[in-house]
């Protein structure tokens, strides 16, 4: 299966009053045609910022370093005009908070059509017909009528489908879904995930599913990347991650996920607060909360290393074997 995108040594820094904050540090991963990468981690772990950086959408005080190769084009080096030709056409993003992510003053048909009109020089009326087809594809009934609606006239689930459809208008090679189902109720969530899977299979799109919900990502992801404090701590196939987690943080995450079968007892929580991300701090970023901490964990940052086929972990220890 061909590789579509490869991200190398991606770092994202923000200038703040208390110095440089490094919210993403040396991120390395690849995306493959038609595959789903689940990206999990707690709030503030840099999941969203990493992909905003790739899309060139960082806030003004943010800086990205490294490479984000889409084919042989490094997105991070592109000038605004060249980047605009890639965004929406080759790589697209679906945002969370559907109420705010759509323009309240434009009909959704127009908002969807303009992507196609822009990138493929299709006249707008024709692009609107394509938008109606897309609404149908993402499972919106009565698409002709819905296309003429304003965002506030649709439900949250429908708006989410609109955003997904909008991102897919130009059949992008990479689709980034940032907490795209977070605000939806469980049944709609499941429908949207199924929709994602169908789309990836049909269009060969590589999907990145950013979420803080492990089990949600696991339901459709082929591979998983766990991020902690701006770094990838474990990358593995979904199967391996769940049955053979190697990083203490991943284990903690799995242990703190409520299981439907257990009815008694207190839910496990990882002790301690998430770290501050000031630059220049040594050692493993997880060490203050790690049950396996040793002296050199405080001094030396572990690098991501392979521990099995298609399984990488950033930890000094090999705590493999049976899962918790």
């Amino acid at each position: 299966m061909p590789r579509i995108m490869s991200v190398e040594n991606l770092s994202v820094r923000f200038a703040s009053r208390s110095g440089q904050i490094e919210v993403v540090k040396d991120l390395n991963f690849d995306l493959w045609t038609g595959q789903v990468l689940g990206l999990v981690g707690e709030s503030g772990s840099g999941k969203t910022q990493a992909f905003l950086a790739i899309m060139g959408l960082l806030a003004r005080n943010g800086r990205a370093e490294g490479r984000a190769l889409l084919g042989d084009v490094d997105l991070l080096q592109l000038k605004p005009r060249a980047l605009n030709r890639m965004r929406g056409r080759e790589i697209a993003m679906v945002f969370q908070d559907t109420a705010a992510a759509l323009n309240p003053t434009l009909r959704i048909g127009i908002q969807m059509a303009e992507v196609l009109a822009l990138h493929h020089a299709v006249p707008l009326p024709q692009a609107e017909l394509a938008a109606i087809d897309m609404l149908d594809m993402v499972g919106i009934s009565d698409p002709e009528r819905r296309a003429r609606c304003y965002p506030h006239e649709l439900s949250g689930g429908m708006r989410q489908r609109v955003l997904i459809g909008m991102a897919l208008m130009c059949r992008p090679k990479v689709l980034i879904a940032d907490e795209a189902t977070a605000s939806l109720d469980a049944t709609v969530q499941a429908q949207i995930l199924t929709l994602f899977k169908t789309v990836c299979d049909r269009l060969g799109t590589a999907l990145v599913l950013i979420t803080h919900d492990l089990s949600l990502a696991a339901s459709i992801a082929d591979r998983m990347m766990v991020m902690y404090a701006g770094q990838a701590v474990e990358i593995a196939t979904t199967d391996a991650l769940f049955h053979d987690p190697r990083h203490p943080y991943t284990r903690g995450l799995l242990a703190s996920t409520p299981a439907a079968t257990v009815t008694r007892g207190k839910l496990y929580t990882i002790p301690g607060p998430p770290p501050r991300l000031l630059e220049g701090e040594r050692g493993c970023r997880f060490n203050p909360r790690c049950p396996h901490r040793a002296a050199h964990c405080v001094e030396l940052a572990p690098i991501l290393r392979p521990v099995a086929l298609d399984h990488q972990v950033a930890c000094h220890f090999d705590i493999g074997g049976a899962s918790q």
């Binding site: 605004p80 929406g88 056409r89 705010a100 992510a101 003053t105 303009e114 304003y150 506030h152 909008m166």
Partner: protein, 307 residues
Amino acid sequence: MIRFILRRLAIAIPTLLALIVVSFILMKVAPGNPFTGEKTLPKEVMANIMARYGLDKPEWQQLLDYISNIVLHFDFGPSFKYKDRSVTEIIAQGFPVTFTYGMWTFVVSTVLGVFVGVLAAVRQNSWVDYLSLGITIGAQVVPVYVVAPLLVLIFTLWLGWLPGGGWNGGHWSNVILPVVALSFSLVASVARIMRSSMLEVLGSNYIRTARAKGIPGYKIILRHALRPALLPVVTYLAPMLVYVITGSVIIDMYFSTGGIGSAFVNSALNRDYSTAMGITILYGTLTIAGNLLVDLIYAWIDPKIRL
């Protein structure tokens, strides 16, 4: 939408009636009458004049006569001051002047203000932003009666480019200075409102969505940001519209434009009851119409507002 307009027009009628009654009472409460002057008239003469204009009748009768004349004949009565002129004639003469420079002021202030505001927002924290901020704050605090003579000084006396006064049938050279003087602080206000609301819109999630779609910057401004950012500006435009088309006494005085502003002030000073009432009703009508117009624009900008 049509029902909304009709309903608003229906509300306008009692509003105007209330306006007439209140202004009528206020005028009667004020001491003196149109014919009191430095020279006291003989009692008989005064009684004659009062009878001639119907001022000898009880007040409620005068009010009813006045209203019924307007409703039945669209007649606002004769001027109490200028014997051979009716109020309708006075308004017909002054209002077109006021309306002309008022509408130009409105257009110039809105267009220029929006343009400057957008520019400052897009180039936030650049020299363009700081320069426009500085100029707009300055322009906002300088009153019309300072701007007007300064403009005359520069463009009439020093440069000799434009006439310093007169109307000349609305020749463009006579219109420019009044419009510039009146626009001065309005441009500044519009620009500052526009800048802050544009900044807010540009920081919103849907603008990020538009950028993620690869839409170039100028198209984002024009298609995605301008309309929602105009909303607070439109709120300001309602009172501004009324302010500019009801005219400015100061403009009429400095530029001798002969607009309705000076007629209004004179009528009040002279106790010219009918003229003052007529212009008050005109202002009231314009205010109601202006607000209705702004509400319609509001609904056009924000689809969430249903009329």
